[in-house]
Every structure is written in C-alpha cells, then in structure tokens.
C-alpha cells in the first residue's frame, strides 16, 4: 500500500498503419503525481502513442490501464470522463468563442450540465467563477472577453491547457505543450505546469522537443525509437544511457 500507485500503465501496445509498425510492444508505467516525458526523434511514435492512450484509436494488441481500469478501445469522451485530460500538438481550441466560453463549456461538460437544454448558460455563477479561477491560473483572466481566435499563439496554447484543466483531470497528457512558443513563453508555461502538478497532485505526461525543458522538469523519461521503448528512467539515467546517446541525444546532453 505504502508506495505510490501506478496511475497509468501501458502494456505491450502494438499499433500498425497499413503494414508500418508505428508502435512495437510499448510498455511502461507512470506513478501518481509523477511528471513524465516521452521523447524520441520525429516519427518515433510519440503522437501515435498519445492517440492510443487517449482513445483516438485502439491498439492492435496490448492494453492501456488507467487507475486500474482498462481504457484501450474506449472512445475518447469516456476516457476523459474517467479523469484524463489532453492537449494537442496543433493548437486545439474553440476559435470563434470567447476565452471565457472556451473554459465555461469545458466546465459544463465536466459538471454534466451540458445536457441541460433549458437553463441559461449565463446563470451558472459557480461555473463562471470557476472558469475565471482557471483562467487566472494560466494568466488569461484579463482577456476573458476576447475571441479565442485573435489570441497570440502562446495565449492559445495556454487557453488549451486551461480547457484541459477544466475537466479536472488526475492525469494530464500534453503533446508538445510549448511548440511554437518563444523561449520566454515556454519557460512560463513550464513553470505553470510544474506548479499545477505540485499543488493538485496532478500526473503529467508530455512529449517535447526542447531537451532543456525535458530534463528540467521531468522526474522520469521514456525514450522511443522506431516505435520501441529503448530506455526508461530518471533524467540522470537517461543521460548516462549509451544507447540513448548514440541513437538520439548525442551532443545535446553531452555537456
């Protein structure tokens, strides 16, 4: 009992697309509250793994266990309801709704008020203050009235994190959360994620190209290459792993 539980387990996941093996026997587990990075060169299968883990498509074989429950093959909306949040590599928001509405509608879905067709959306003061609270957390409270489509790229990424947080996930999966951000914006976002993880005991799984960020915040790292796990360990272990250095990281972490 004493040891922290595994919140996410990936067991022997295989996925092929038209004969191409995108994932081959991928196995690893993530503990409650952990910050976990998944890295690998382009085409290593990171996005495919993300899509399998969040139910966009089922694995050919193997299984994904969330909180002791098998979720592979379950449609995304059900996985989300079990407490998994996700953000996307390409910014994925509701462009022609206000910043506030973006988070509000996520909260409606979370609190199951989405199915109410008669009450007025603006008469949900608790949801409104919760939405503003989340927007405050990601630093968008000032811009709540703006249309999401006119936000800067960094703000849109932050909004997407806010939308994901509104589902109150216990596990948050972020596909390149800092893609396209300036260095300053990236650092801010990373700080934000770290704070949220610490304060709420949220488990974070993310992919990232920026090695400074990866080694800066993750507690454990999984390295994928050609759809296979070639290493799994703490940043120090990964740094020292000759296979990883040879296959992928090389100079980047030699210093």
């Amino acid at each position: 009992m004493g040891a922290p539980m595994d919140v996410l387990e990936i067991r022997g996941v295989v996925k092929s697309f038209g004969g191409v093996r995108a994932l081959q026997d991928v196995t690893f587990s993530v503990r409650q509250g952990e910050i976990r990075a998944i890295i690998g060169p382009n085409g290593a299968g990171k996005s495919t793994l993300f899509n399998v883990m969040t139910g966009l498509f089922p694995p050919d074989s193997g299984e994904v266990i969330f909180d002791g429950e098998r979720v592979s093959g379950v449609p995304p909306y059900r996985i989300i309801r079990k407490g998994v949040g996700r953000s996307f590599q390409i910014t994925n928001i509701f462009p022609r709704m206000t910043v506030f509405e973006n988070v509000q509608v996520a909260l409606f879905a979370h609190h199951r008020s989405s199915r109410n067709p008669v009450g007025l959306a603006r008469r949900y003061p608790a949801v409104a203050s919760e939405a503003l609270g989340i927007l405050g957390q990601v630093g968008l409270a000032e811009k709540y009235e703006q249309s999401a489509s006119i936000l800067s790229h960094g703000d849109q990424k932050r909004l997407e994190i806010a939308i994901s947080l509104a589902s109150r996930p216990r596990l948050l999966m972020l596909d390149e959360p800092t893609a396209g951000m300036s260095r300053f914006e990236s650092r801010e976002t990373v700080e934000l994620l770290r704070t949220i993880s610490r304060e709420q005991g949220l488990t974070l799984v993310f992919t990232e190209h920026d090695m400074d960020i990866v080694f800066g915040i993750s507690e454990k790292i999984v390295v994928l290459q050609q759809g296979m796990v070639i290493a799994d360990g703490t940043p120090a272990e990964i740094r020292a792993n000759p296979q990883v250095r040879k296959a992928y990281l090389g100079e980047e972490i030699s210093a």
């Binding site: 509405e101 509608v105 008669v118």
Partner: protein, 643 residues
C-alpha cells in the same frame, strides 16, 4: 420460343440500363473530379448538363446533317467549359477560404440563376433535338429492337472514359490532379499552382457534364429545370461510390442505371424510392461510400490563394427582453389595421420563421447543414392531414402529435446521418428527405399520392375557440410559433446550446471535453425535426390542403436560403430571412415569372458580399455605434456569454 423472347427482352433492357449508366457516368465523373480537387460539391453541375443539351439544340438548328451533328456534339461541351471557367474565376474563386457551405450555396444560387436564364433564352417548353437520319433508326439485336443512338452512346461514353483515364493516369497534369485529390495540403506545400489547377479541373468537369447533356439531349428532351433532376441522381451516384472517387462514380452509375431499369419493370410505383433506399443502405454499411474514405480536413494555406478569410463573428449580444417584446406587441395589433391578405401573409411568415429557426439550430449552432428538413415538415403536415381526415382526430391533439411523429422520424434518420459530417451529412439528409418525398408522392392508398390531401377540417380548440378564420389562425400561429421560437432561443442559450457551439467550432476538442459528440448532434437533429414538424402541422391547418410538393428537396433549400440571408450566427437572422423570402415569394411571383432568378442573384450577392447575413451586418454596426453610448448598449443589449 420462350427463350428467344427472353433473350430479346433482356438485350433491350441491358442495353437500356447501360445507356442510362453511361449518361450518369459522364455527369457524375465530372462532379466527383471537381469535388476531389476543389472540395466543392457542385450543385450547378446539373445546370451545366442542361446547358450542354441546350447548346446542342441551338447548334443543330443551324448545323444539319451528320457532320453538323458531330460538330455540335463537340462544340456544345466546349461552350459549357467556357461558362464554367468564367464561373470559377469570377465567382467561386472569391470564396475558397470561406467555409464549405458557402461554396455549396454559391453553386446552388447558380442553379436558380442558370435555370431561369435558360427559360428566358430558350423558353419554358420541352425541346427535342433532331438526330441525323443515319443515327435515328433502330437495329435488331438478338430479336430485340435497339435504337442506333443507344449504340452510339455505348461506344462514345466508354471512349470518353478511356480518354479520362489516359489524361489522369498517363499525363503529368493528370498526376498533379490525382495528387491534389488525395492530399491537397501536400500538393499545396509542393508549390503546385492551385489557381490554374482549380480552373482547369472545374472547366474539365464541366466539359464532361456538357458532353453528358449534349449526348443525352437527343435521346431525352431538354427543358429548364432538367438539371435539378439530373443533379440529384448524380449526387446519389457519387455518394454511393465515394465522393471524389472515379471508380466509385463508375460503379455507382452502373448500379443506379441498372436499378432504375429494373425498378421500372418490377416496382413501377416505387422506382424512385429504390435508388434512395439503395443509397441509404450503402451509407449505413459504408458511411463514406463504396470506395470513399473519411475526408481529411483539406485546409489550404491562405497565402497560396492570395486572400484572407473573412471571419464571420459568431459572438453576439443578446437583446434586452423588453426590446424583444416590442415586435410581438406590434404583431398582436396587426389584424386591427390590416385585411385578410396581410394576415395570411404574416401567418406564412410565422411558419417559415419556425422552420428557419429550427433549421439554424443545426446549421448556425451545431454546424450541421441539413438538406432534408422538408421531410420533417412533410411528416408534420401529413400527420395533421391524415389524423384529421382519416381518423377524425380533433385539431389540437393532431397538431400536438405532429412534432411527436416528426421527432420519431428525425430520430431514425438522424441516427444514421450524425455518423457523417460536412457534405456527406448534407447528402445523406437529402437522400432521406427524397425517400420520404417519393413515399408520399407515390403511396396513393395512404397519402393520396401526388393529389395530396384536400379539405383538412379545422375543428375548434378545447373550450370552443374557433381558429378556422384567417384572423383566428393568425393569432393561433403567432402563439404557437412565438412559444416555439422562445423555447429554441432558450435551448441555444443553455449549457446544452453552448456545448453544441463547441461541437461546431471544434468537434475533436469537444470530444476531448468528455462530450459524446454524436449524441448531442443527434439530440439537436431530433429537436430541430420536432419543431419543423410542428411548423408543417400549422401549415396543414392554415392551407387546409397539402400536396407532396412540400417535401421535395427544393423545399429543404428554403430554410437554407432564409438563414443565409438573415444571418447564420444570429438568432433573429433566420426570421428576418423568412420575412424576406416569403414577401419576395408572394410579390415576385405575381410580378414576374423570373422569381428564381431574383432569388438566385440575392443569394449570390449575399454569399459573396455579406456572408454574415443582414442581421449579422446590423449587429456589427450596432455594436460599433452603441459601444460609444454605454447606457444605450447596457439597456438594449446585454452581453451574452453564450451566444
């Protein structure tokens, strides 16, 4: 002896089915090619077919003899291609960056315009095109009499198909076309000149339609509006085969050609229903057609097109409740100062408003373009008509059952339709709508067939309230529509409505909020169907007679028109559109026969210049103006967090 009769009969039927398939393939191959590359489902493709037929008609008036016929047969498609090139470069090109529904609507406007122009130029009557003597006779094959012209078609159509195959698979341009069709983004990134390619493909598709018309014209007849019959058949063909897939168009043509020939012999009553049934059956098993794949979102970079998308802002203010009451008060007073004509006109407007507002719950709020709303309108109208005339049910219970039956039908149809999206969704709703239409049109024993139902009695409401008079019906319709519209407004402003908007904006992200997207789309479809059915029930009471015309797909186009005129992302827009449409309809029909032309031009102008609609435009201006006068804004508009 028996055997020879069978063989001759079979020969005639097989050749006739193949001829039909050949015509269908010529038209639908162009349609599917255009869709594959431009991502536009060209409603005007049937009109281009019609032009091909008219051109050969006009040319053969001057060019006689076999040589003249051949020249006309080749020149007519080129004339069509020229017109198509003008349409593409002058009109379509302007809106490639707009959402796909605007492209669909622009081609729909062109149908209205081209049809009426053809009527002006060539007259409203049926024209038959004379064939040279050499190909107007008949020959005997296996004892069956087969027109020589059929044989000519059966040689020429496969020849065209071979040329098409050669151009697509053996030339460099053909490879580019196929590459673009399978992955537009990639082709875009490779630096292919999209503008030139689009014009080329659109014109080439038009050649195929024009050739289809030129070849079919002498075998059939040509008249204004023939294109709308042809285009629906071609839609069925390409949707069955898989949009954008040429093999699919070929197989689809053969299937439909055969089914039509067999259907006329075996089920003469329900021949039309059969092709829609086949389409529905195939799409239920394979939602993207026999050879189709789920569509990728084919975004084009704005830079490549050299233009910027005109964003239609769906963020709006909701009007103070007191402001909303004013029009209702005015409407209550109308019968005091006007006669029966205006009361009747306004009652029509009320019913049209309800149809349009219910439709816009799907289009503007959920992002689903339904081209089958007339089916639910018809179910509602026939529910009232049949219950009142055949079962003697009283008026109010009959009217209340109209939305119930319409919702039940919508639940069934919607179950299959929400599995698709975009153009596929529109086409499947269209097919289901036409299926309902053909049933009402042909089932004489139950629906009265094309005679419809006459003499629907309007009985007093409980409490002895008479609603038979024009004025009483006016108030009754005002009350029913008023309450319904208010319910629809509440639905739009509710958390449920917010969720529908989220689905419209980003279906995938909505699913990742934990929303069961299909269930919500289905619910919206059923709600819209129910209110459309209620409007149909009111219509039956107002007119006291109904015909299946009200279920025809062109009727499903009306709420689309109203919504675009008024404003897709506004709540009041569809109602304003209903006023414009109904008034135009009443006055223009009396004033000119060219009312479809006027309608088409209005739609064209709106799509090109004012895609946000009249109310959307006024909203923008009002916000800009009242924003400076804070108190006016506070009193008149309240910012809606959920519009």
């Amino acid at each position: 002896m028996m055997a020879t009769i069978d063989v001759s009969f079979l020969t005639v039927q097989v050749l006739s089915a193949l001829r039909q398939a050949a015509f269908l393939f010529l038209i639908s191959s162009g349609l599917t090619l255009i869709f594959g590359v431009l991502n536009i489902l060209n409603f005007a493709h049937g009109a281009l077919y019609m032009l091909g037929a008219y051109f050969i008609y006009a040319l053969t008036l001057h060019l006689t003899g076999p040589a003249g016929f051949v020249v006309a047969l080749l020149a007519a498609p080129l004339g069509v291609a020229l017109i198509a090139a003008v349409i593409e470069t002058g009109l379509l090109r302007r809106i490639y960056v707009q959402e796909e529904i605007y492209q669909l609507l622009l081609t729909y406007a062109l149908v209205l315009i081209i049809d009426d122009l053809a009527k002006i130029v060539f007259g409203p009557e049926y024209k038959s095109i004379p064939k040279p003597d050499a190909i107007s006779g008949a020959v005997t094959i296996f004892g069956g009499t087969v027109p020589v012209y059929t044989l000519l078609v059966l040689v020429l159509a496969p020849a065209i198909a071979l040329v098409l195959w050669y151009l697509l698979y053996r030339t460099r341009t053909g490879k580019i076309v196929r590459a673009t069709s399978s992955d537009r983004e990639m082709a875009d990134a490779l630096g292919i000149n999209m503008s030139a390619l689009f014009t080329l493909v659109f014109a080439f598709g038009a050649i195929l339609a024009g050739f289809g018309g030129a070849l079919a014209g002498p075998a059939r007849t040509v008249f204004p509006g023939v294109g709308t019959e042809v285009i629906i058949e071609s839609f069925v063909v390409v949707v069955i085969g898989g949009l954008g897939n040429l093999w699919g168009a070929l197989i689809g043509s053969l299937l439909i050609g055969t089914l039509e020939t067999v259907g006329i012999i075996v089920f003469p009553e329900f021949e039309m229903s059969l092709i829609y049934l086949l389409m529905v059956a195939i799409l239920v098993v394979r939602p993207w057609g026999l050879f189709g794949r789920p569509l990728k979102i084919k975004a084009l970079s704005e830079k490549n097109l050299g233009m910027e998308a005109q964003e239609i802002s769906p963020v709006h203010f909701s009007v103070n409740p007191l402001v909303r009451v004013i029009p209702v008060l005015l409407l209550l007073a109308v019968p005091l100062v006007t006669g029966r004509f205006y009361q009747y006109l306004l009652t029509q407007i009320f019913i049209a408003s309800l149809v349009a507002v219910a439709f816009n719950l799907l289009l503007g709020t959920t992002g689903l373009l339904s081209f089958g709303q007339a089916a639910f309108y018809g179910v509602g109208a026939y529910t009232v008509g049949l219950l009142a005339t055949k079962a003697g049910v009283s008026t109010l219970p009959a009217l209340l059952l109209a939305p119930v039956f319409a919702a039940a039908v919508a639940a069934l149809i919607g179950f299959f339709c929400v599995r698709l999206s975009g153009v596929h969704f529109a086409m499947l709703t269209l097919a289901f709508g036409q299926l309902v239409f053909t049933i009402a049109f042909k089932w004489y024993g139950f629906t009265g067939g094309d005679n419809g139902i006459q003499g629907i009695p309007v009985r007093p409401l409980p409490g002895g309230v008479e609603i038979g008079s024009t004025q009483a019906m006016y108030y009754f319709a005002l009350a029913v529509v008023g309450v319904s519209v208010e319910i629809l407004r509440r639905i739009r402003s509710s958390p449920f409505g917010s969720t529908l908007k989220a689905i419209r904006e980003n279906t995938q992200r909505a699913a990742y909020l934990g929303v069961n997207v299909k269930l919500y789309q289905w619910a919206a479809f059923v709600i819209a169907g129910a209110f459309t059915g209620l409007a149909g029930g009111l219509y039956a009471l107002m007119e006291k007679s109904i015909t299946p015309d009200i279920i025809h797909w062109t009727k499903s186009g009306e709420p689309v028109f109203m919504t675009i005129i008024g404003g897709i992302y506004t709540f009041a827009g569809p109602m304003v559109g209903a006023v414009v449409f109904t008034v135009l309809n009443s006055y223009l029909v009396a004033w000119t026969e060219k009312w479809a032309l006027v309608l088409g031009i209005i739609l064209l102008v709106m799509v090109l210049l004012l895609p946000g609609g009249v109310v959307g435009f006024v909203n923008e201006k009002a916000r800009a103006a009242f924003g400076k006068r804070g108190w006016v804004r506070r009193w008149t508009f309240s910012k809606s967090a959920a519009s």
